[in-house]
C-alpha cells in the first residue's frame, strides 16, 4: 500500500514512479485476463472453448468475492447467493417471451410475459445482486468471525432452498434452458476487466482504505473514527452487485442452461479455493488464483475424459478434478497461508527497475491472513 512508505522524498521522478507503480498494480491483473482470453480464443479447440470462457467468468466471480472478503477480512460463504440471483434473473428474463408460458407456466406474469436484451439482463443482475446484498447485509454485517461464516452460509442455504422450490420465480428443481448464449470471449473479458477495474478503484478509494484499516485492527480503526459496520456494508453491497453481474455473465455461457446446483456448494468451494490459493488480501491474488485453479481444473477435467500420452490413453475417474483442486488448496494453505501472492499486489520485480542512487525504501509487507 502506498500509505505504508516512509517520508516522501522530493526527488524528481518519485511521484511519477509512484504513478507508474499504481498503474502497474492494475495492469498486471488485467493483462493476465486479457492474455488468457487472447491465447484461448486463438488456439483452443471447440471442446475446451467453454471451459476457458468459464474460467474468465470465474475471475469475475472471485474478484467480486475478494471485494468483500479480501478488503474486510471477514469470511463469507454467501457471495454465491448473489451470483445465483443474478444468474437466474438474467437467465429468466432473456428467455424469449413467446416460449416461456409453455415451459414455465407458473411464473409470475411480469416474469413470464416479458423478455429483455442481453445488456439489460446484465444490468438487472447487478442491480438485484446489490439490493439482495443490502437487505442481507444490514443485519449480518454486525457479525464477524465464525458467526459471520455460519450466517452467510445460512443465506446461501436459504437462497438455494427457495430457488429450488418456488416455481413462481424460477424453474424450480428443473433446468432452465433456452437462454441466449451471449457470453463469448469478448463479453466475458470485457466483463471481467470491468469487475477488476471497479474492484481496484474501490480498494484505492477512501472507503476501501477505511475498510482495509478495519481488517488490520478493528479497534484502532474504530478509535480513528471509522464506522466498521457501514464500511463492511458498502463493500458487501458492491460485492453483491459485482457477483450478480458475474452471475449474469455465467448464465449466458453455453449451453445456455442453468440449475440451482450449479450455483451452490461446488461453486462456493471452487471460488473460495481460488481466492485462498491466490492470496485473499490482494486483487492480484484473486485474479491469479482464479486463473491458476481454473487451469488446473481444466487439465484434470480433460484427464477425466482421457488424455493421450504417447499412444496410451490415461483417463482419470470422474470427480478427480475437485480432488485435485482440494489438494492444491490444502497444500497452499499449509505452506503459504496467505496465498501464492502473499497478499501483495502486482509489481515489476525490483531488480528490473533499479536506478543508480535512487533505491526506494522497502515497502512493509502487509501482514498475512
Amino acid at each position: 500500500m502506498r500509505g505504508v512508505r516512509t517520508a516522501p522524498r522530493f526527488e524528481g521522478g518519485e511521484s511519477f514512479r509512484r504513478r507508474v507503480d499504481d498503474t502497474v498494480q492494475l495492469l498486471g491483473p488485467l493483462a493476465l485476463v486479457v492474455v488468457l482470453a487472447l491465447i484461448a480464443s486463438q488456439t483452443v479447440n471447440a471442446a475446451d472453448d467453454v471451459k476457458f470462457r468459464t474460467a474468465i467468468v470465474n475471475v469475475a466471480i472471485v474478484v467480486a468475492l475478494y471485494v468483500f472478503v479480501g478488503n474486510s477480512g471477514v469470511l463469507s460463504f454467501g457471495q454465491v447467493s448473489f451470483v445465483a440471483v443474478g444468474a437466474f434473473a438474467a437467465g429468466l428474463l432473456t428467455v424469449p417471451a413467446d416460449v416461456k408460458p409453455g415451459v414455465l407456466p407458473q411464473l409470475f406474469p411480469f416474469l413470464r410475459d416479458h423478455s429483455i436484451s442481453n445488456p439489460w439482463s446484465l444490468t438487472l443482475a447487478a442491480g438485484l445482486g446489490a439490493v439482495y446484498a443490502l437487505v442481507v447485509g444490514v443485519p449480518l454485517m454486525r457479525l464477524s468471525g465464525l458467526a459471520a461464516g455460519i450466517a452467510t452460509f445460512a443465506v446461501l442455504g436459504i437462497t438455494y432452498n427457495i430457488l429450488t422450490y418456488w416455481t413462481r420465480i424460477g424453474p424450480g428443481a428443473t433446468t432452465l434452458t433456452l437462454i441466449p448464449v451471449t457470453t463469448d470471449y469478448l463479453q466475458a473479458t470485457v466483463g471481467a476487466v470491468a469487475v477488476i477495474a471497479i474492484a481496484f478503484a474501490y480498494q484505492r478509494s477512501r472507503w476501501g482504505r477505511q475498510l482495509r484499516a478495519t481488517r488490520e485492527d478493528p479497534a484502532a480503526a474504530q478509535a480513528a473514527g471509522i464506522d466498521v459496520h457501514r464500511q463492511r456494508l458498502w463493500a458487501f453491497v458492491l460485492s453483491g452487485a459485482l457477483s450478480g453481474f458475474a452471475g449474469g455473465l455465467l448464465v449466458h455461457l453455453p449451453p445456455g442452461s442453468i440449475t440451482t446446483n450449479q450455483v451452490y456448494l461446488d461453486l462456493t468451494f471452487l471460488t473460495l479455493a481460488m481466492l485462498v490459493v491466490g492470496g485473499a488480501h490482494s486483487l492480484f491474488g484473486a485474479v491469479a488464483g482464479a486463473i491458476g485453479i481454473s487451469l488446473v481444473n481444466i487439465l484434470l477435467q480433460n484427464g477425466e475424459n482421457g488424455i493421450h500420452v504417447v499412444g496410451w490413453k490415461i483417463s482419470l475417474p470422474q470427480g478427480s478434478s475437485l480432488v485435485g483442486v482440494a489438494i492444491v488448496m490444502l497444500v497452499v494453505l499449509l505452506l503459504r497461508p496467505s496465498g501464492l501472492t502473499g497478499g501483495r499486489e502486482f509489481a515489476i520485480p525490483r531488480r528490473l527497475r533499479r536506478r543508480p542512487g535512487a533505491e526506494p525504501p522497502a515497502p512493509a509487507p502487509e501482514p498475512g491472513v
Binding site: L75, W166, V323
Partner: protein, 281 residues
C-alpha cells in the same frame, strides 16, 4: 470445546460408515471396533496434518481448510463409484436386526429408535464424566476457556487438542453406526447434511459448554420436527397456493432462525449471561 469448527466432521462419519461397509462379515462387534478405530485415526491425522500447522493462523483459515478437507474426502469417496463405473451407494448390514419393530400396545417402534436414544444418553453421560471427573477433561475445559493461560499453567496444547479430537472421532463412529442402521445406504455425502445441522445446533446453543451445545442440538431437532409437521405438505409447488406453506421450505425456516439467534444471542441461546467468549475459529 476448543472452538475449532470442523466442517469435515461429517466426513469422519462417512469414513466410519465406509469401514462398516468394508468389514461386513467380520461380525458386528469387529466391524464397529474397526469403524471407531478408523474414525479416531482419521481425526488424529486431520489434526496432525492441518489443525496443528494452522494453529497460529486466523480462525477463518482453519475453517476454510476444513472445508477443503471435507471436499477432498467427499470426492475421494465419489471416485470409488466413478472408477468402478457403478451407481453411487453401498449397503451396510451391521446390526440390521435392530430395524425390527418393537410392539408397545398398538405402537410399532423400530428397536433402533431406542438404541439411538440410549447411545445418545450414554455418550452424553460419558462425555460429561470425562469433562468433569478426569484430569484431561479439566484441561480441556481450561483450554476452552482461555487457551493461552491454560498453556502457561502447564496444560499441554497438543495433548489436549489430540484428546478432544480423538473423542470427536469416537462420537463420529457412534453416529455412523446409528445412521447406517437407520438408513443402510452409504454414499459419498453420508454425514454431510447432519454436519450442517449439527454445526448450526452447536452455534445456536452456545459452543463453550457441553450442556448448552447439547440443548442447542435438541432445539434444532425439535424445531425441525415441529415445523416439518406444521408446514403443510402440499403448498406452493402447485403454483397457485400461498407461497412458503410447504415443508420443502423447512431448511429456509431453520436457517432464518439461526440467523436471528446469531444476531440477538451471539453467545448462544443457552449460554450463561456475560459469557460471550470470542471464538478461536
Amino acid at each position: 470445546m476448543l472452538r475449532i469448527v470442523n466442517f469435515a466432521y461429517g466426513q469422519l462419519i462417512m469414513i466410519a460408515a465406509y469401514m462398516l461397509v468394508f468389514t461386513q462379515g467380520w461380525g458386528d462387534a469387529g466391524a464397529i471396533l474397526i469403524a471407531v478405530a478408523a474414525a479416531v485415526f482419521a481425526s488424529l491425522v486431520m489434526e496432525r496434518v492441518t489443525f496443528r500447522p494452522l494453529r497460529t493462523t486466523s480462525p477463518a483459515t482453519v475453517l476454510v481448510a476444513t472445508f477443503a478437507i471435507s471436499y477432498l474426502l467427499q470426492n475421494v469417496a465419489l471416485l470409488r463409484y466413478t472408477y468402478q463405473n457403478r451407481p453411487v451407494g453401498d449397503s451396510v448390514g451391521v446390526l440390521g436386526g435392530l430395524n425390527r419393530a418393537a410392539e408397545i400396545g398398538s405402537l410399532h417402534v423400530r428397536w433402533i429408535t431406542f438404541v439411538a436414544i440410549g447411545a445418545g444418553v450414554v455418550s452424553l453421560v460419558a462425555l460429561a464424566l470425562l469433562l468433569n471427573r478426569t484430569s484431561i477433561g479439566l484441561q480441556m475445559r481450561a483450554a476452552a476457556t482461555d487457551f493461552h493461560t491454560a498453556r502457561l499453567l502447564g496444560v499441554k496444547a497438543n495433548t489436549v487438542i489430540m484428546a478432544a479430537v480423538a473423542v470427536s472421532g469416537v462420537l463420529a463412529a457412534v453416529s455412523a453406526v446409528i445412521l447406517t442402521i437407520q438408513s443402510p445406504q452409504v454414499t459419498n455425502t453420508t454425514g454431510l447434511n447432519e454436519t450442517i445441522f449439527v454445526l448450526v445446533g452447536v452455534v445456536v446453543g452456545g459452543m463453550n459448554r457441553l450442556l448448552s451445545a447439547t440443548l442447542g442440538g435438541f432445539a434444532i431437532g425439535f424445531a425441525n420436527s415441529f415445523l416439518g409437521f406444521e408446514l403443510a405438505t402440499q403448498g406452493s409447488n402447485s403454483g397457485t397456493a400461498v407461497p412458503f406453506t410447504s415443508s420443502v421450505y423447512l431448511p429456509s425456516v431453520i436457517y432464518v432462525l439461526v440467523i436471528l439467534v446469531l444476531l440477538f444471542r451471539p453467545a448462544g441461546l443457552f449460554a450463561r449471561h456475560g459469557q460471550a467468549a470470542v471464538e478461536r475459529v
